[in-house]
Structure formats: C-alpha cells, structure tokens
C-alpha cells in the first residue's frame, strides 16, 4: 500500500511546478521571495561553511590577511594533528570516545523505553491524574538545566552517583521533551488497533511491545536525535570530575582552549563536535518531521 502511494506522489509532483501554481500568487512575488530565501540561506550557512573550511586550511592560510573563505590547499592536517594531541593526552582518546558513546547510548535507550511507556498510557488511557501529570510535563519543558543544577547536584550526591556515569545517564531518562513528543505522536495511533489486540487476549505489556512500539518508529528516531543531541554535547563537568570519565566534547574543548598554536586543531574540533548531530539529523529528517507534525500544544 505505502509504496504505491509514494510512486503516485512523485509522478504528480514533477509536472505541476508551473501548472499547479496556486491561483492567488503573483509571479513577481514568488521570485522576490525565493531570492530573499536564497540570500538568507547563504547567510545562515556561512558561519558553518566557514568553520568547515577553516578546519581544512593549513596553518599558514589560517593566519593570512586578508583571510580567504575557501582554503587554497585543503589538507586534513588539522584533524590528524588533533588525533596526535589526543593520543598524547593523559587519558587516551579511545577512553573519551567510549565515555561519550556509552553515556549517549545508555541514556538514549533508557529514555526511549521509559518515556514511551509513560507516553503510551498518557495517550491511550484515561486515568485520574494523567492530564495533570501531562500539564506538569509541558511546564517542565521550559526548565533550563541551570535552574535545576544545584538541587540536582545535592540529590546525586546523596545517591552517591557523583563522579559516575549514572549522574548523566539517569537524569537524561526523564527528559520531558521526549515524553511530550512521544505522547502527541501516539495519540494519532488508532485506538481500535489496541482494542483489537486486547480482544485477541494480549495483555497491556504485549500490546505495548508488539503493537504500539513498532508503529511509532518515526517518533523513536525523533526521541533518539533529541536525546543524542543533549548527551553528545554534554560536557559533564559539573557532576563528573575524574578525568578518565569525562566526555569527548569536554576533552575536545580543552584542546580548543589551548591558545593560538592550536587554532587549526580548534577549528577541527568545532567540525568534529558539530558533525555528529547534523549527520544524524540529515539521515532522519523525514521521520523527525513526521513526528513534529503532531507536536502541537492544545489548550
């Protein structure tokens, strides 16, 4: 079924560029707007392009004046230098990488499971307290990490989790944003699907794992990307102070702060740090947009 629909859509959409124009649009208006959009897009992309191109510049070009936007002799020297520097650090590069990957993976996985379970009952069942709980979640989406940082430290301290991975992983499970998006998306799931499974004798747990979860895969991707973004960029310097448990981003930013001799490596760090979230977003864009379509807040 799905495949057929897609084919039809594509065919329809080659022709109409000119033909199916909306009747109330002026051509001059369209052209002006698109030129404006193009201009804005270039302005928006410029800093990122500049960051990438300066990571590819050899050292002498980095300090050239007037500076050029694009490198004349692009090299990967900055990246290989970066690995050399990382290799010489007291804690090895692979250890930092492991820390980040482990924190990101565990945090994202736990968040996905726990938030989906909560989202499932909030979306599909009517029980006392459910609505109120959801309202609290929407308010909690406004908290910035800094506001809750101090009491969080005290709690983690009492639990004895300070300076362990858990200090980053467990709080990430409860991120309100993921629950919110998941719940909104699950509301679009037909209730009859769940009821049919129940009549066939499945209990809630089975309904959740075999009916609901496979049907909300686009929302998984969205949860994953938001969670990965948060955890990948987590410098973890407040709750973790042992060097061997710090994250990659922290280590990279230490190098970046290394002064003028590290300019080239600093530029390479910028690229390494930003490339991961951007690549994940590019790969999962259509699924994320599908989820965001149900993100609206009703009052």
């Amino acid at each position: 079924m799905k495949k057929k629909e897609k084919v039809v859509k594509e065919k329809e959409y080659r022709k109409p560029l000119v033909k199916r124009r909306k009747p109330n649009r002026s051509i001059i208006g369209d052209i002006l707007l698109y030129l404006f959009l193009l201009f804005v897009a270039i302005v928006m992309a410029f800093p990122i392009i500049y960051a990438v191109s300066s990571a590819l510049k050899p050292l002498d070009e980095l300090f050239k004046f007037p500076p050029r936007i694009f490198p004349q002799n692009p090299t990967f020297d900055n990246f290989s230098d970066l690995f050399v520097t990382m290799g010489k650090s007291w804690v090895t590069f692979s250890r930092y990488l492991f820390n980040t990957v482990w924190i990101t993976f565990a945090g994202t996985f736990g968040h996905l499971v726990i938030a989906s379970m909560a989202a499932f009952v909030l979306a599909k069942y009517d029980f006392p307290g459910g609505q109120t709980f959801f309202k609290v979640i929407t308010v909690a989406m406004m908290f910035t990490g800094y506001v809750t940082q101090i009491p969080n430290y005290l709690i983690l301290n009492r639990l004895g989790w300070i300076d362990t991975y858990w200090a980053i992983i467990i709080p990430a499970f409860a991120s309100p944003m993921g629950l919110f998006l998941m719940k909104q998306f699950m509301e679009g799931l037909p209730t009859s699907l769940i009821e049919a499974a129940k009549i066939d004798g499945a209990n809630e747990w089975r309904v959740f794992w075999t009916i609901v979860m496979p049907n909300v895969k686009p929302a998984w991707m969205t949860l994953i990307i938001f969670s990965v973004q948060g955890l990948w960029n987590n410098r973890a310097s407040t709750y973790i102070y042992s060097e061997e448990r710090k994250t990659l981003v922290y280590a990279l930013q230490q190098i970046q702060a290394g002064g003028i001799a590290r300019t080239g490596q600093g530029a390479a760090v910028l690229v390494v740090v930003m490339i991961v979230p951007i690549v994940i977003f590019v790969l999962s864009e259509s699924q994320i947009l599908e989820t965001m379509a149900s993100s609206g807040l009703k009052d």
Partner: protein, 317 residues
C-alpha cells in the same frame, strides 16, 4: 435564613466532592496498570525535575553553602537581590532585552521561513530545512563568530567597516559594552531556528489542502490573506509549542554570552540571569542566593508563557 442556605450549599458541595473523589479512587483502582507504566518515568521526573524546583524554592529562603546546614533567612535573599545587587538588575535588564528582541524575532523568523519554504518542491525543502536548522544543533559552532568579530583590524567585520570608511579604529566588539549585547543577540538569532521551526515545517505540511481551495472560492486574494485567515488558525497548536520553545531559549541565554564575552563580562554588560546564577552557584557557592535567582527566573518564564498563550488565542480572529 442565609446561613442555612450557605450550610446547605456547602453540604451539597462536599457531598459532590466526596462522590467525585470516590469515583476517582475507583477509577484509579481499575487503572492500576496505567500507574505501573507511568511509574518509572514519574519517579525519575519527580526526582530530577519536580523536586529540584521545590528544593530550589525552599533554599531560596535560606543561607546555604553546601558545607553547613541551611540557615533560614526569610526574604533576605530576595531583598538583597532587588535592592542591593546592581549586577542582578543589569542581568535582568539584559535578559529582558534579549528575550524581548530575540524571542519574538526568532519566533517570527521560524514561522516565516517555515512558511516560505513550505511551497518549494520537496527536495529543495528538505535541504532548506537542514540549512536553517543546522545552526541550532551545531554544538558550539557559535564561537566562530568571535573570528568574524575579532577586536583587531584582522576581524572580518572590522576590516570591512574600515575599508568602507565607516570607522577608523577597530571596534572591540566583545569588550565594549556598547556592542556586546547586540552582537550576542545576532548570534542568538542565528541559532534561533530550532525545535519550534521543525514543528512549524511539519505542521504546515499537515494543513488541509481543501481549506485553501475553499479560500480561493471565497475570494482570498493573496498569500498574506491566506496566511492570516487559513494557515495561522490551523497552526495554533504548533504556534503554542513554538512559543514554549522560544521562551525557554530566550530566557536561558548563557552559553553564547559566556563563550563570546566571558563570565563575568566587561562591566557586566553581557551578564544574564543565568550567568549570574552560574556565578553565585558554581563559583561563589552561595547556593541560597543562587536558588533565589533561579526561582525568579522560573517565575518570569511561567508568567511570560501565560501571557503569550493568551495572545496566541486571538490569532486569526
């Protein structure tokens, strides 16, 4: 007579309440499974989001430095925040400036661009989404702006302005209080097409096409009328969501100003409520005082959210 009436009213009221409560309890007993599903999330959420806010309000009335047990002070922290702490007032002013300018502007930009790219062919649209959204997820890529706005004549902006003959000495963008905030706002605006923007893009795709056709019949003349009478009313839930996102962003500004201007910044010209909070919480360890700052920030955000939701209800009418 009147008292009797009152009593009767109250007894009826309480009876009703009791009955409602009984129904609630019964319902809750039936839906035990729901609570079981909700429990893991709810416990963690209470631990790391609800309790911290409550604790933060409690500590805001005390003197607390982690080493000694909290000592109750009453409203002392708030009084000294408002009456004695000049830096806090500067921070509030800066935060409000940033929020009032970048909040609505970023919000409008998010919607405007989402709306403009909506009618592009699909592949162009998906590239445009990536280009516009990338800055907000690009880690700390914003430090690249410190290259553009370098304080010496080698910075792009200074060089360009000098070549044009507008200035003759390079401007210290991140040290001159006159320019710090505007430059930071520019960077924040650059990053403001975030989650709200995605929500708008997706929401616009979901607007029912037949409504537009009905609009042509009823004489919607141009795209602006179409926007106001058809698109915006359909987008209300997304607009609400986007508003929450931009408030969070606008009031939580700290990383950008710290990276570009330092903390504390020259003359505190770029300090925001959050940088002030970091200053007291993580550097001076006056937790009670820092919690008072956090509480004020939190109240401001909730108030602002209420205000905007009331405004948005009027859209399209």
């Amino acid at each position: 007579m009147r008292e009797d009436g009152m009593r009767e009213f109250f007894s009826k009221y309480f009876k009703l309440r009791k009955r409602e409560a009984a129904i609630m309890v019964k319902k809750a007993k039936v839906s035990k499974m729901c609570y079981a599903f909700l429990a893991p999330y709810a416990i963690l959420f209470a631990m790391f989001f609800v309790y911290p806010v409550v604790a933060s309000i409690y500590y805001s009335f005390t003197y607390y430095n982690i080493l000694q047990p909290p000592r109750f002070l009453g409203l002392q922290n708030y009084v000294s925040l408002i009456l004695e702490d000049d830096v806090f007032l500067t921070s509030v002013k800066n935060t409000l400036m940033i929020a009032v300018i970048t909040g609505p502007l970023g919000y409008i930009m998010s919607f405007l661009f989402a709306w403009l790219i909506n009618e592009l062919p699909r592949w162009v649209r998906s590239i445009a989404v990536i280009v516009f959204y990338a800055p907000s997820i690009a880690g700390n890529c914003y430090v690249i702006f410190s290259v553009f706005f370098r304080g010496d004549a080698y910075g792009y902006v200074n060089a360009a302005l000098q070549n044009l003959g507008i200035i003759d000495t390079p401007i210290l963008w991140f040290m001159n209080p006159q320019y710090m905030l505007p430059v930071c706002m520019l960077v924040i605006l650059w990053m403001s097409l975030g989650t709200g923007f995605l929500s708008f893009v997706a929401g616009l795709q979901g607007v029912d096409k037949s409504q537009f056709e009905a609009g042509y019949m009823d004489g919607v003349k141009n795209r602006w009328q179409e926007l106001w009478y058809i698109t915006l009313p359909n987008m209300k839930p997304m607009l609400m969501f986007g508003a929450v996102m931009s408030i969070t962003q606008a009031f939580g500004v700290a990383d950008v100003t710290i990276a570009l201007c330092g903390n504390p910044s020259t003359d505190y010209a770029a300090s925001t409520i959050v940088t002030h909070l970091i200053d007291y919480g993580s550097q001076r360890f006056e937790m009670g005082y820092a919690c008072a700052i956090a509480t004020i920030l939190f109240l401001m955000m909730i108030l602002c959210n209420k205000l905007i939701q009331n405004l948005l209800r009027r859209v399209g009418t």
